[in-house]
């Protein structure tokens, strides 16, 4: 799976990073392919991943599942340490390093999240954000097989983060595969019960998810303070937002 991702990312990379300052219309030049992969992912989720995640939540008790989530969360913190340092964000690096140390030791390899209980904040930095921080554009939007929404930049980030990921570096292949599998199930299980929401909310699921993903990543790159209107050149057209102060909002 990982190799497939790599191949895909590299294949697109050539054309992508070249002209990475993406105009809003150009953000998804691969839309037909992306839509196909999106559809595939959707089907795969219904057929396999969702039922497995449901079984997992039924069979495995709450406490154990929390432990599993914490374990992978701890690895996420480790990746955040590296990327915070790469972006010169000392405070985040410090928090995250503290979390890793506390949770890996007292928390028994990350199974317990004592750091959160002790008030050390959790952050989220990955190599995709690091690239963004240093001015690399997102490149085209990309839907990865089984992994979901991404961009060329974030796919590269994923590969690089994999190098710092202790699970991905496990030398015993069967153990590694099982662990990665559990990670996927854990992620999916946390989202159970929410999938109807997207069906309900979206006029077109594909654009809805794409819009949300791109907004979210931008927000993360700028740590919650993205520059305004950069992506919305049509914004001036709506300036006459004659604040409908007296519009009867609802009756």
């Amino acid at each position: 799976m990982k190799r497939l991702t790599a191949a895909l990312a590299v294949a697109v990379l050539g054309g992508a990073l070249g002209g990475c300052a993406s105009a809003p219309t150009a953000v998804d030049p691969l839309e037909p392919m992306n839509r196909a992969v999106f559809k595939f992912n959707d089907a795969a989720d219904r057929a396999v991943l969702k039922p497995v995640a449901e079984g997992y939540t039924k069979v495995v008790p709450d406490v154990a599942r929390t432990g599993v989530s914490n374990f992978f969360g701890n690895i996420g913190d480790l990746i955040t340490v590296v990327n915070s340092l790469l972006q010169g964000k000392k405070e985040k690096a410090g928090d995250s390093l503290g979390r890793v140390l506390v949770n890996s030791s007292f928390g028994i390899l990350g199974l317990f999240d004592f750091a959160s209980a002790g008030g050390i904040e959790k952050h989220d930095e990955d190599f995709g954000q690091t690239l963004g921080h240093w001015g690399v554009g997102t490149g085209p939007y990309l839907v990865l097989p089984l992994l979901g929404p991404s961009t060329v930049r974030d796919s590269v980030g994923r590969l690089v983060d994999g190098q710092a990921d202790p699970v991905a570096q496990m030398s015993h292949v069967p153990t590694r595969n099982v662990t990665q599998g559990v990670r996927v199930i854990d992620t999916r299980a946390q989202l159970l019960g929410t999938e109807g929401l997207l069906d309900q909310a979206a006029l077109d699921k594909y654009t809805f998810v794409r819009g949300a993903y791109l907004q979210r990543r931008k927000n993360l790159v700028y740590d919650g303070k993205p520059p305004e209107d950069e992506e919305e050149p049509t914004a001036p057209a709506e300036v006459p937002t004659a604040a409908p102060a007296n519009a009867p909002a609802n009756k």
């Binding site: 999916r188 946390q190 929410t194 006029l203 819009g211 949300a212 927000n219 919650g224 914004a235 909002a249």
Partner: protein, 203 residues
């Protein structure tokens, strides 16, 4: 995968902004009182958790008066707003409201175990528009910020956009609306929304 979580969290955003129309309560105090009231009511009433109709009634009474759906729709329409006739604008607002309420109220009950933190409001007293910042905290996961864009109207403060983890609801729908209108005009969008809402009714 995290993006799904963000989309799902929007549901809480809706729960938060409920509340009776307090005439001139400060915006942050409004969000807080309403959020706590609605979440507490849901937590303490099993029958509301299990009965979508009762949940709907609760939200209709407490939540909806605090949204300016007209402005939300206008912002989501962007420059297409002026292409719509006043009747179409009214119909669009009604359909969009129905869509949002049905979508997000259904998922709300699953969030009853989370707690909300309210950040200090950074605004001057004379400001007409403010952003009220909150975050949803669930033990063991990263907090998800929810920001409410609010404006001062004669009927008190009203929310016109909800931004969950950096994803603006209005901005996200703008692209969807744009596409629908480009393909089949304002009427096409209206029809699409109406069909979607009808399908939701049957569930």
């Amino acid at each position: 995968m995290k993006i799904w979580k963000i989309i799902a969290t929007t549901a809480i955003a809706f729960g938060l902004s409920a509340g009776a129309a307090f005439a001139q309560v400060a915006p942050d105090a409004l969000v807080k009182s309403v959020a706590e009231e609605v979440l507490t009511t849901i937590r303490n009433n099993k029958d509301i958790q299990n009965d979508p109709k009762k949940l709907g009634d609760l939200l209709e009474a407490k939540l909806l008066p605090n949204f300016n759906f007209a402005r939300m729709t206008q912002l989501a329409m962007g420059r297409n707003w002026n292409k719509a006739t006043p009747e179409q604008q009214k119909a669009l607002t009604a359909e969009f409201k129905t869509l949002l309420v049905r979508t997000y109220s259904g998922a709300l009950a699953t969030y009853k175990d989370n707690t909300i933190e309210y950040k200090p409001l950074k605004a001057k007293p004379e400001d007409k528009e403010v952003i009220v910042r909150t975050q949803v905290v669930k033990p063991g996961s990263q907090p998800i910020p929810i920001d409410y864009s609010m404006e001062n109207t004669p009927e008190g403060w009203k929310a016109y956009d909800v931004v969950v983890g950096g994803v603006s609801l209005v901005t996200n729908y703008r692209e969807e609306f744009n596409n629908a209108i480009r393909e089949s005009g304002v009427d096409g969008l209206l029809k699409l929304l109406a069909t979607k809402n009808k399908a939701g009714e049957k569930k």
